[in-house]
Structure formats: structure tokens, C-alpha cells
Symmetry: C2
Subunit: 238 residues, 2 copies
């Protein structure tokens, strides 16, 4: 289920009820640098009045020597195996819940991993507020221009392909390396946000030529301070 | 504020609190055929324990003789004037709320209309679950393919421009006329939903060649029965 972008108040009433009905919650452990995120998940469970048994599982490590697609597929296989092993450690009397940042459909692997389980579970997806909405809400801007198209893409693809053909607006997720630097900045405005919805939230916006270097600096400084970062940005061309 | 796609349970905890804090709610009246939507807004207000004064305003009619951009701009001017007139009819002691289907950023004009108000109000945007998430949740499918780009666009643009360059996935909103018919259906799968999150929800999916005509029929039948329709679809190319 989608839990929004880190603000416990982003949970929907449907989400809260689903957490209350869950008998087990699978909780990923990603290593000590992201410990605050596991803490945040537990805080959300408490805030929602969940009484589920919390079953932690270690996230496997990706084999960086493999080509991208294979690496991701093997990693999903490994996570599915960890889920099954974790669930085998105790009784499961009712629904098993997974808490997903934002929404389970948006640049998240939970659905693809769940399809690997044997026997195939009956899936219920609870939609959540995504980083797209948290970003545009924080800046109080529209997602799209009037009758305009929006391309949602990754940093990897932006670096490889440049500004997507035909898009007035581009939203970039999963960008570990300020891929906006690969674009010609003329006429482009950027709205950036990190740790959206959390107390650590940082925002910056402006013409790309001027705001780009500032965002790069803010990003590096924030990542060094917290040990991790989750960010997203939207760009529009005049 | 975004209220999700018609299911009162899509409201977030933040949204519920914002409704409780509002002193006035502006409620659009779009004519008798959409009366159930005004009713649904009132039901959401009641379910959230809102005590705000509800101030209705008549939605102005678009001048279809004008070119598209001018028509939309004039219409937004006219709506802003109606808001100001409606608010002038009584005291406004605290926040004024507008309930937006889905999220205020996504193919919605509320932010653009609010910018026209004099004096300029202090805007607070409460993000909501959008039809994008409601659609992918209802079908239990991911929004994007692995490292894939998604183009979010309108029926008008799909008809004019065909399948957007470089996109594995296309999501179409505001399509009054089954614009997927303009595409070559080979290798395209479609997931469609109408009245998402409501008791009237209808879903259909499959290869475009086979599902397209079926969706067209379902859509016409449902629109005739309810007098209105809100739908959205996602297509992926193999």
C-alpha cells in the first residue's frame, strides 16, 4: 500500500484501515544509514493504530557487475525469496502488508516482486499520494501546462536522451547525479524538492541556469548531513 | 485540496484536518446532470466532520466560438470572478477550501484560477490521490516499466500527435472521444477505468485491438446511463 511521501498525514483513510486489518507487516532493512526510514515506517504503523506483527527482512544487495535489466530482475527474485523466508518464520492469519513510499505503481518494484511469489497471492493495491503530488503541492504549481503533455522519466534516461520529444513538462525521479546538467538550460525552469513531506523537506526553484548549480550544492550538503536523500524535480520549457 | 477520485476513503489525514479547519467551502454547481458530484462533495465534507459554511457558485459556460487557449483563459477569468462574488455574500473568518477531484496539480484549473484573485491569496495545496494511482491500483499494475518513461497527455494531443516519441507507457486524461482509435493497435495493451473509486467503477483491459471496441461500447453505455463520465486509460507498447 502507498503511504505517501513520509508525512504520516499523507496516509489515506483507506490506507489506515488496511494497516489496521493487516496481520503481518513486512519491513525492509536497508542498512544503518537509512535507519530513520524504518523508524518512520514504524511511526506510521503506530499512528494508524496497527496491531500487525512486524517481520523484518534484509534487503539483498544488487550485483553491479550484471547488465541493468538482468541486475534488476535478479534483485527482484532475491527480494521475493527473502519475503517468503521471512513469512515462514511465524503464523500468517490474515493480510500481509507492505508499506510503500508514495504509491506502489510509481517507480517501485513491490508489484513486480509480489508477482514472483508462489503460490501467487491475491493482490490488493491501496493508492497513495506520490512524490509528484507532494512536489507540485509544496511549490503550489500545476503538474501540467494547459492541454500539455508531461513526461515522467528517470535520471538515467534524461542523461541518455536529453529533453523528451514533445513534452512541455518533464518530471525526473531516481536521479542520483543531477542529470539536469546534461540539458541546455535556456528557457527551462526547474522546481526541486527533497525529503518531501518530512520535517527535513528542502525546496528550490528558478531558471535552470541559475537554480541548477544551487540545487546541486543543496543536494550534496543534505545528503552528507542525513546520509541518504530522496528527491524529485519538475522542469518546464517556455 | 485534493480529495482523491470520489471514494471518501481516498481523503488523506492531512486533507481531513484541512477540511475541519476551513471556515468556507466553495462548491461548484455544474448543472443537474452532474448533481451526484455535488452530492459526493457534501458527503465527503460530512464524513470528514467539516463545519464550514458551504457557498455554492454557478460554473460559467465556455465560449466555444473562441480558439482553445483564449477560451480556457477567459473561462478561468470568469470562474475567478464567480468565486469573488460568492465569497462577498458573507463573512470569511478563516481558510477557504476548494475540493478538487484527484489532486489540484493534475489537469485541474484551480491553481490557475486562484492566481487571478485580487488581492492574491496565500495558497496552501493539500496533495491528493490522483486518477493515475486509482487506475493502476484498481488494475494492480505498475505505472512505469523498469527504467521506463511515461507520457501523461490528453485525448486532444493523442489524436493530433499519435503515440508520443520515446514513451513505453502513455496515460490519457480528458479524452471525450476514445482517441486510442487513432493509434495502430499492434503490440499495444490498454488498461481503462471509469468512475474510479466510486461504487459505479468500471474496468476493462486487454490488447488494444480487442479491448478498444469493447471499451468504446462500455463507455457509451455508462455515459448514457449516468449522464456523465470521468475516465482515464493507460497503454503500454511491447
Amino acid at each position: 500500500m502507498g503511504i505517501g511521501t513520509g508525512n504520516p498525514d499523507h496516509v489515506t483513510l483507506e490506507g489506515r484501515r488496511a494497516l489496521q486489518e493487516a496481520s503481518v507487516v513486512l519491513l525492509p532493512q536497508k542498512g544503518s544509514d537509512k535507519a530513520d526510514l524504518a523508524e518512520l515506517r514504524l511511526a506510521i504503523l503506530r499512528a494508524c493504530g496497527a496491531s500487525a506483527r512486524v517481520v523484518p527482512f534484509e534487503m539483498p544487495v544488487r550485483d553491479e557487475s550484471l547488465p541493468y535489466e538482468t541486475r534488476v530482475a535478479r534483485w527482484h527474485d532475491a527480494i521475493a525469496a527473502r519475503w517468503q523466508a521471512a513469512l515462514a518464520t511465524g503464523p500468517v492469519a490474515g493480510p500481509v502488508a507492505l508499506l510503500v513510499w508514495g504509491d506502489p505503481g510509481l517507480y517501485d518494484s513491490t508489484l513486480r516482486i509480489a508477482e514472483r511469489l508462489q503460490p501467487r497471492p491475491r493482490l490488493r493495491v491501496v493508492p497513495g499520494v506520490t512524490a509528484l503530488q507532494a512536489l507540485t503541492a509544496a511549490h503550489a504549481i500545476p503538474f501540467n501546462s494547459v492541454n500539455g503533455a508531461v513526461t515522467v522519466t528517470t535520471g538515467r534516461r534524461l542523461r541518455a536522451g536529453g529533453w523528451p520529444e514533445g513534452a512541455e513538462t518533464v518530471v525526473v525521479l531516481l536521479d542520483g547525479s543531477c542529470s539536469f546538467e546534461a540539458l541546455a538550460p535556456e528557457g527551462v525552469t526547474i522546481w526541486w524538492g527533497a525529503y518531501l513531506g518530512m520535517s527535513e523537506q528542502v525546496l528550490a526553484a528558478g531558471p535552470l541556469a541559475e537554480a541548477g548549480p544551487r540545487i546541486k550544492e543543496l543536494r550534496e550538503e543534505a545528503r552528507a548531513r542525513h546520509g541518504w536523500i530522496m528527491d524529485i524535480y519538475l522542469m518546464r520549457r517556455a
